[in-house]
């Protein structure tokens, strides 16, 4: 399974992705949770109190030599993607491995090399080892560019609001234009309060809605306390809805 969560900022991508990754790992699957947002997010939803991932060293990318073709920066040929993940990811609860691409921490350290290396490593991961669950930054910048095309399934997280629907519609349109391998693109309704919300999101995005995650005060409280939803409120309706989503998506997982 290679599944990316996308959608407008604040729609609930990290909370859903973190809960999804933990649930999948509890079933005994190898889960790599990846985060390509320069601001922190997924670590908390996975249940990591601090994100102390080792930085990917600058030497992981090398510059094109004179006379060579292709992009200016490439993955150092000495870096094996599977070994890189072992080395530069950290362990989260339930055995999830958490791999992120470098955070803006306010100091002057440049992280663009780390971010390029991350992108190569994820794109070059061999099939059949990891179930990859990705939390992409909000908006349309990464979803269908080189940052998101490792995914074979894209779940667009949409709230029943005009702005979230507009973002969902744009993401669905971009998915249609994507020249890469055909992806499954579906919607997850988030913060649902009204029985008509799911229908509104299906009509508004043109996507099949594969889960309806209800608005849940327990999730908001988990955010306030910086705790993973699955730890703070394992029996909450929202966590239960994500567990159903895992079941639904599980036909292509790697154990």
């Amino acid at each position: 399974m290679r599944l990316a969560f996308v959608g407008k900022g604040g729609a609930g991508k990290s909370a859903i992705a973190g809960t999804f990754a933990r649930t999948l790992a509890r079933q005994g699957d190898n889960v790599l949770a990846i985060d390509s947002d320069p601001l922190p997010g997924l670590a908390f939803s996975l249940g990591l109190p601090i994100d102390d991932s080792p930085p990917i060293p600058d030497e992981a990318v090398v510059e094109r030599k004179e006379g060579e073709q292709g992009p200016r920066w490439r993955l150092n040929p000495d870096v094996d993607p599977l070994e890189a993940v072992e080395k530069w990811s950290v362990e989260a609860p339930d055995g999830v491995r958490f791999f992120q691409f470098g955070k803006v921490k306010g100091d002057a350290r440049e992280i663009w090399k780390s971010q390029i290396a991350f992108r190569f490593i994820v794109n070059k991961l061999p099939a059949g080892h990891w179930n990859v669950v990705g939390d992409l930054p909000g908006g349309t910048r990464q979803a269908f560019t080189g940052w998101g095309n490792w995914a074979t399934t894209v779940l667009v997280v949409v709230e029943p609001t005009a702005k979230s629907l507009l973002s969902g519609r744009r993401l669905a349109r971009m998915a249609d234009l994507d020249p890469e391998v055909p992806k499954r693109v579906m919607a997850v309704a988030s913060k649902v309060t009204d029985p008509d919300d799911v229908d509104m999101i299906a009509k508004g995005t043109g996507l099949e809605v594969v889960a309806a995650v209800p608005y849940d005060e327990a999730l908001a409280e988990a955010e306030r306390r910086q705790l993973a939803p699955i730890d703070f409120a394992p029996d909450s309706p929202a966590v239960r809805a994500v567990e159903s989503l895992v079941e639904r998506m599980s036909e292509e997982k790697v154990s």
Partner: protein, 103 residues
Amino acid sequence: MKLAVVGKGGSGKTTTSSVIARTLAKAGSAVVALDCDSNPNLGISLGVGDEETERLVSMRQALDEGEEAHAPTWDTLIGRYGSDGPDGVRLAVVSRIDNPEPG
């Protein structure tokens, strides 16, 4: 006054911006509301509706596509590519990502 609103996704930047813009305009100021998000949706919060938000040709796209032969002035761009919203707020969109790109 030149005021930028920033913050994490979903924290309320667009809503805050739109209320500031309309409040200033109601008080009689000339206000340009500039949507700098590559996934622009300020139009919805300002009250121009999602169809008009989608219709707005982004200024950068127009420049990229060569509709503007010479670097035009700020007033020209805002006049040509902006849209009038409630309370006289002039809305303009800086850019929009429309196309996927191969990796």
